[in-house]
């Protein structure tokens, strides 16, 4: 009997701050030596009761709240919220606003992926790479700042459109940033993606089979890494995704490496979508005025709207009883599935040194779990 097997079982509390996840999230793990026997997630550190808060506030006031449900990728929240109201109240959105929204969603996705792959690579000890991606993500933050006035929380999409049109010369600067990020992809591959050490560390870790993925309700890049080409943007196109060309990269391995590769490939697709938008965006108004928001009743009804966020399928179910605040808003984030159920399953049986890698490769967002 080797020494390591003689180590007794022990429990470990990991979190709420640790390198495995972008936010506060913790685990109670049972281990035997380096081997994780079981992991129980302990969520709630970022619980601010968003869903309940929304019921107490005017429809307009919630646009300042929803973006906080996912910090690295806030725009799908705004988009879902606005579209849910639009669907219930039958509000038309000007064509240009739809294109701008798509642009905002793609920029947000890019920023989130840069954050995500940087984070994953960093969990293997290669922090230089995450410094790069986060510095490059900052360029996108600057675009957001220019367009919306805010860097992280954009509070930009309103029911009926968006709050402001492009500032002068914005298109040019978007293209410059896209060119820049594209030029960096080679460096990314050299340093991390094609780095033999990283590949060795990430391959075969946290494997989800195609069957498991479907059974567990995995969506987004994590599902596509298991060989399923599912994407809300293609399956149920919203805004102007049916008017732009893009592909859905997939992998079949279903491991941590495959998930990051999918994200890395999607960066190229997003850059292409952004360029198409800048090329094709029509002129026109960007907002169809809604009634005075202080005295605004959204007619009774309900709506289920979904977007493809960088985390996966992201949906809002909104019910209005005809009053001045939503009767109920349910947030269906992909992170609850990935960050709780999938993660607990994957951690059991893996090794402690891979835990944070598995977590980050799933790219779950704790506030979205807690909401």
């Amino acid at each position: 009997m080797s020494k390591i097997d003689e180590v007794r079982d022990y429990e470990l509390f990991i979190g709420p701050n640790h390198p495995g996840i972008s936010g506060n999230f913790s685990f109670k793990m049972k281990l035997q030596g380096d081997k994780i026997l079981s992991a129980k997630t302990d969520a709630g550190y970022l619980h601010r009761g968003f869903e309940k808060l929304m019921e107490e506030r005017l429809f307009i006031q919630n646009i300042a709240i929803v973006c906080r449900i996912c910090v690295p990728d806030p725009d799908p929240n705004e988009n879902n919220y606005a579209r849910a109201i639009e669907e219930i109240a039958g509000i038309e959105v000007p064509e240009r606003a739809k294109w701008i929204r798509t642009l905002v969603l793609e920029l947000s996705r890019l920023a989130s992926y840069l954050f995500g792959i940087g984070g994953h690579v960093a969990t293997t000890g290669l922090y230089a790479f995450s410094n790069w991606t986060i510095a490059d993500r900052d360029r996108i933050m600057e675009l957001f700042e220019e367009l919306t006035g805010g860097r992280v929380y954009h509070i930009y999409q309103l029911p009926g459109g968006v709050r402001r049109d492009f500032p002068d010369g914005f298109e040019r600067r978007v293209l410059e940033v896209m060119d820049y990020i594209e030029s960096r992809l080679g460096d990314y591959d050299d340093l991390a993606i094609n780095n033999a050490l990283f590949i060795k560390r990430a391959t075969g870790i946290g494997v989800i089979t195609k069957e498991q993925a479907i059974k567990w309700g995995v969506t987004g890049p994590n599902l596509r890494a298991c060989g399923v080409a599912a994407d809300v943007r293609k399956d149920d196109p919203y805004e102007v995704y049916d008017k732009v060309d893009f592909e859905i990269p997939t992998r079949t391995e279903g491991d941590a490496y495959a998930r990051t590769i999918v994200r890395r490939k999607e960066i190229e697709q997003s850059i292409s979508i952004v360029r198409q938008i800048i090329d094709k965006i029509p002129a026109g108004p960007v907002w169809n005025k809604i009634p005075n928001p202080l005295k605004w009743k959204v007619p009774a009804g309900d709506a289920y709207v979904r977007t493809e966020s960088s985390k996966g399928e992201y949906a809002y179910y909104m019910v209005s009883d005809g009053g001045r605040n939503p009767y109920r808003v349910h947030v269906r984030g992909a992170s609850t599935t990935h960050g709780v159920h999938v993660l607990e399953n994957l951690l059991a049986g893996s090794r402690i040194e891979d835990a944070s890698q598995i977590m980050f490769s799933l790219d779950a967002c704790p506030p979205e779990v807690d909401r």
């Binding site: 307009i60 300042a64 006035g149 402001r164 050299d190 991390a192 094609n194 780095n195 490939k265």
Partner: protein
């Protein structure tokens, strides 16, 4: 990146090429990174432009904006003495406040750094220079394209000049339900209108009720301060609309038309049900009111509700005063007026028409037979220009003609008429005569001339516009010299140019250009330059009443120097219906005070009691929240807690008093003197002094909370009604808890 990529060991070393690059994010020494021009940084607020409407605080989803009173700033029409202060511990920089600002005075800058160990410095009062007085460039700014407010009014349909030119049918068609709801939804409920309205009507409240399609509530809110809403819904001078914050950049809310819609939509037979008001109990005391104009009717209504027996004496065949005999039917149909007056009669006010005091009944008799007398006889005697020729038989007073038209008497209508005067009465007579001319001659030939030029004519703009549409021709800025008479017939009015109407002290002192003479042709002249009172009915009392210039000397409750005699309406404070209503209501309170011999006016109806108690709570809340940003988190939390509780209380009381039984019960209880005493004692707490230290603040809070505790304790004691007992008991318990918390903190 092929499927079986083994990767490279050497390629990662290519990253070494960046080794000499300047870092992207670190800058030493520290420097502020310049932001994008649209950056949402700290706020700036143009204090001059800002009207303190509080809409920013209303939309703020974090309660980060508080409206604070500015010392030395006087509230004006359409502007309060409050200005927003921002708690940056709460602000989330969403800029909803910027996009909803009614004046565009609130904007954001590109400034984003504030470092301080003193938490109080995060509670800031934005002005034009920014928080650090460093003149940062503007960031996120208000934009007309994405402003949240609805600046355009729902258009009111009116009869065209052709349709209305020859009839006295009401011009304004009124809003439909959909139109009214749409118009009501534009309101931001800032309450500047309430401050400006002479009667301080609960305008935001009834607009909200209209928006909610809750007409009963709208009616209830309206009747709290105005018993002539059908009239005011049509002919009010709507000073509220001048104050409306939406009017800063757009068209003000059509407050008058909304009131009209609400009252038109409630059938007359439902008025009693709509109004929770009941005559509390007969007091066995009586009040005589002379004149059934707005002031007299308003006083009668509110006195009646308090339990007095009211008799109104009216000289004309029908009640209404100027509303009936001065305002033409096309502006105020008699049906609408009757609807209001009938309800006032329904609550038990007796109106004796065709009874002239001083002729049919001597004034002395009123004093003998009634406990108190209110005179509200108005201005019914037209003033003359007294230029040569005014004694001609074809020179008329507008007020006489208008009254004759109402009474259906035949009046002289010539083919060419000159009207002298630039006020609303001049417009009324000009437009009435235009209609008569149209019927008689098929065309209109009316000249209206006034001393005032078009820009300073006292008549409403819409009146002047509509008169022009109906064919009246204006010669403003001209003074009458003489009426030219040839062969016993009037040829016209000779006028000269008026250079200025008022002198430097704004006294009436017109100056004329004697060389600029013009003859305005017409065979009939109507003078409409104002009216005066006829007080001859007062008989010997004329000498006994103290005068203040040309008017009676009255105190704040419109009581004259004779204790039992009150005066209201145009003879005290004109010139319109709403002022009459306001003065009448106040005089009613004064009469009640005098007759009940109350020390002070604490309440008159149950609503006053509840309003007072709510205001007390509101006061606690305001004075607490005013300092909230400055203190430690523990105290802050407690204040927030208080605020929530107060809001809750308001809702509960509002809901409860909609129950009629509860109302009657509380009314009965509170009308008993000893129990009223409890109440008075409880709220006789002076306002919180401004505090700067936390300790002082807590002490003040303790005192206030203690008083509130006492208030609920006493209210609980005197209510044996289940719901009320529960409510006040609950509130008492809450207050006790709060008190304990404060005391605990104080001990620390």
């Amino acid at each position: 990146m092929s499927e079986n990529n083994k990767g490279s060991i050497l390629k990662p070393f290519r990253a070494l090429k960046f080794i000499g690059e300047k870092p992207v994010t670190i800058r030493t020494p520290f420097e502020n990174r310049p932001t994008a021009p649209r950056y949402r940084g700290f706020h700036v607020n143009d204090q001059e432009k800002c009207i303190g409407c509080g809409t920013c605080a209303e939309i703020c989803d974090n309660d980060a904006i508080r409206m604070i009173e500015i010392p030395g700033l006087e509230p004006e029409v359409g502007s309060s003495n409050l200005r927003p202060a921002i708690d940056y511990g709460r602000c989330c920089w969403c800029a909803l406040c910027v996009d909803v600002c009614t004046t565009n005075s609130l904007n954001m800058t590109q400034e984003y750094t504030h470092v301080s160990e003193d938490l109080n410095t995060f509670f800031m009062f934005p002005d034009t220079e920014g928080i650090h007085k460093t003149d940062f460039p503007l960031g996120y700014q208000a934009s007309d394209d994405s402003n949240f407010l609805d600046l355009e009014r729902v258009e009111m349909e009116e009869l065209s000049p052709e349709e209305r030119g020859d009839s006295f049918i009401e011009i304004v068609k009124g809003y439909s339900k959909e139109q009214a709801i749409a118009e009501a939804s534009r309101c931001v409920a800032c309450g500047l209108c309430t401050d400006t309205c002479p009667a301080h009507m609960n305008i935001p409240e009834y607009i909200e009720a209209i928006w909610d399609d809750n007409l009963s509530e709208a009616g209830r809110q309206i009747y709290k301060t105005n018993p002539l809403p059908e009239v005011c819904g049509r002919v009010c001078t709507h000073k509220c609309e001048t104050a409306c914050s939406i009017g800063q950049r757009g068209e003000p809310i059509a407050i008058r038309w909304l009131k009209r819609y609400a009252m038109d939509a409630i059938p007359a037979e439902q008025y009693g049900d709509v109004n929770n008001f009941r005559v509390v109990k007969p007091l066995g005391k009586s009040v005589a009111i002379v004149g059934s104009g707005p002031a007299g009717l308003s006083a009668a209504y509110y006195l009646r509700l308090m339990g007095y027996d009211i008799t109104i004496f009216e000289k004309y065949p029908e009640p209404g005063g100027m509303m009936r005999y001065g305002i033409p039917e096309y502006r105020l149909p008699y049906d609408a007026l009757d609807k209001d007056i009938n309800y006032i009669e329904e609550v038990g006010v007796e109106i004796k028409c065709n009874t002239t005091i001083g002729k049919d009944i001597p004034f002395e008799d009123l004093h003998r037979n009634f406990d108190s007398v209110l005179i509200a006889t108005g201005f019914h005697v037209g003033r003359s220009t007294r230029v040569p020729g005014t004694d001609h038989k074809d020179v008329f007073q507008s007020i006489d003609l208008l009254s004759k038209i109402t009474r259906g008497e035949e009046i002289q209508v010539d083919e060419k008429i000159v009207v002298i005067g630039g006020g609303n009465v001049a417009m009324d007579i000009a437009r009435s005569l235009a209609r008569k001319q149209k019927v008689k001659y098929g065309k209109v030939n009316i000249i209206v001339t006034s001393l005032e030029t078009r820009d300073i004519m006292p008549a409403d703009d819409e009146e002047i516009e509509e008169a022009t549409e109906e064919g009246c021709v204006f010669y403003p800025g001209r003074g009458p010299v003489e009426i030219v008479i040839e062969d016993g017939k009037i040829k016209g009015l000779k006028t000269n140019r008026c250079l200025s109407v008022f002198d430097e002290q704004h006294r009436f002192s017109p100056k004329f250009d004697e060389n600029d003479i013009k003859l305005l042709e017409g065979t009939m002249i109507v003078e409409s330059i104002g009216q005066g009172p006829d007080m001859s009915y007062l008989d010997t009392y004329t000498d006994k009443i103290e005068m203040d210039g040309r008017r009676f000397k009255v105190n704040e409750f419109y009581q004259t120097s004779i204790e039992w005699l009150f005066a209201a309406g145009d003879i005290i404070k004109g010139p319109d219906v709403i002022n009459g209503i306001a003065v009448g209501h106040k005089a009613a309170l004064g009469i009640d005070k005098m007759l009940e011999n109350k020390k002070d006016l604490f309440y008159n109806t149950i609503f006053d009691v509840l309003d007072k108690s709510l205001k007390f709570e509101e006061g606690c809340r305001k004075s607490s929240s005013k300092f909230a940003g400055k203190f430690s988190p523990v105290v802050n939390n407690m204040i927030t807690d208080l605020t929530v509780k107060s809001k809750d209380l308001e809702e509960r009381i509002k809901k409860l008093i909609q129950n009629e039984n509860v109302l009657i019960h509380l009314d009965k209880k509170l009308k008993r003197p000893q129990e009223a005493g409890y109440f008075e004692r409880c709220i006789a707490e002076e306002a919180l002094a401004d505090t700067t230290s936390e300790k002082d603040f807590l002490k003040n809070m303790e005192r206030k909370t203690r008083v509130a505790f006492g208030l609920y304790h006493d209210l609980e004691k005197l209510t044996k009604n289940k719901e009320l007992e529960f409510l006040f008991g609950y509130l008492k318990a809450q207050k006790k808890k709060q008190l304990e918390k404060v005391e605990k903190l104080l001990q620390k």
